[in-house]
């Protein structure tokens, strides 16, 4: 029962035609999710603001290359993700991008992300998110913020669907511990 935005009708075609109002609508819709994604990965306010700006400038310039208007959100996040990776490389954090994960996650475990968190657990949740390795954090954020499918997350992060599955599994396992503590 993840509460996510419905697949709303976005004025992507109008934006492609250069309609400023359509771009304003798109900006208002995605400014905060993009910022959250950027900040949680870069941990720097100015870099995150720059990320939102550069992502939208890139989107203005290359909107004609977007084939499917329905995929605007995923396309926008893939631009932002590429810029995050560039930033990590500039910061010499490439090692954090590599991870040792077993390819197949265990099956049948309940999904702890579909539950609600108590207010007093919010800070712990944010701390836990910060502790996750970058690839897992990235996959989890994309899952939380926009409820992207495994395929969409794989496309955005330029990885295999199986890898995304593993990353989400390990991230969820870490979160499950927090939730179990919450129940006690």
């Amino acid at each position: 029962m993840l509460v996510v935005p419905e697949r709303e009708q976005l004025p992507v075609a109008d934006a492609r035609a250069g309609n400023a109002e359509a771009w304003t609508t798109l900006f208002r819709r995605y400014r905060l999710p993009l910022y959250v994604y950027g900040f949680e990965l870069l941990r720097d306010e100015q870099a995150s603001l720059d990320l939102v700006q550069e992502t939208f400038i890139s989107a203005f310039r290359h909107i004609t290359s977007l084939r499917d208007d329905e995929k605007f959100g995923g396309w926008l996040f893939s631009i932002a993700h590429q810029k995050c990776v560039q930033q990590w490389r500039r910061q010499g954090r490439e090692a954090e991008l590599r991870e040792e994960l077993s390819p197949e996650p265990e099956a049948g475990s309940p999904d702890p992300l579909d539950v609600l968190l108590r207010e007093e657990r919010e800070a712990e949740f944010m701390k836990l998110l910060e502790k996750l390795p970058l690839p897992q954090r990235s996959a989890l954020l994309l899952h939380y913020i926009e409820d992207f499918s495994l395929e969409e997350i794989a496309r955005i992060t330029e990885t295999q669907v199986g890898t995304v599955k593993s990353r989400l599994h390990y991230a969820k396992r870490a979160l499950r511990k927090l939730l179990e503590e919450d129940r006690l």
């Binding site: 993840l2 900006f27 400038i57 949740f125 913020i145």
Partner: protein
């Protein structure tokens, strides 16, 4: 109780005014410049779009062009002759050619009369000894 999405968005909501200011100051201007292209640039933009959409991603076109250039290069190498020095030699006219020329001039003179000679011609002669010139003037 909140969803992870709600927690995340709520936490960063205070940054929204900054994002809006950034939109007004930088992005709206960038968009304005892109949204209203100059009339003369429209053809350029259409051409560029066609190039980018039709030609650039089409591997067949690039493969065809590569083949064409390759075959031109091969043909050029196969049929080119070794470079030879062409020396432009002007041969002196042979005796027969001279005779034919004289004959032609004679026939022309018979048909249209004698060719008018130039009023005077400059004779370039090598200067003689100074003593000879003095003798000629004194005789005159």
């Amino acid at each position: 109780m909140k969803t992870p999405r709600e927690i995340l968005l709520k936490r960063y909501r205070p940054v929204e005014p900054k994002l809006d200011r950034m939109w007004a100051e930088n992005l709206a201007t960038e968009l304005q410049s892109k949204a209203t292209p100059a009339r003369e640039n429209v053809f350029l933009a259409v051409g560029w779009t066609l190039w980018r959409e039709l030609v650039l991603p089409n591997r067949r076109i690039w493969a065809g062009l590569a083949c064409a250039w390759l075959s031109i290069a091969v043909l050029n190498l196969a049929f080119s002759e070794p470079a030879t020095k062409v020396v432009n030699q002007s041969k002196p006219p042979s005796g027969e050619e001279l005779r034919a020329l004289i004959e032609q001039r004679r026939m022309l003179a018979q048909l249209i009369g004698p060719l008018s000679e130039p009023a005077y011609t400059l004779k370039r002669t090598a200067p003689g000894p100074r003593s000879d010139r003095v003798a000629q003037t004194s005789a005159a």
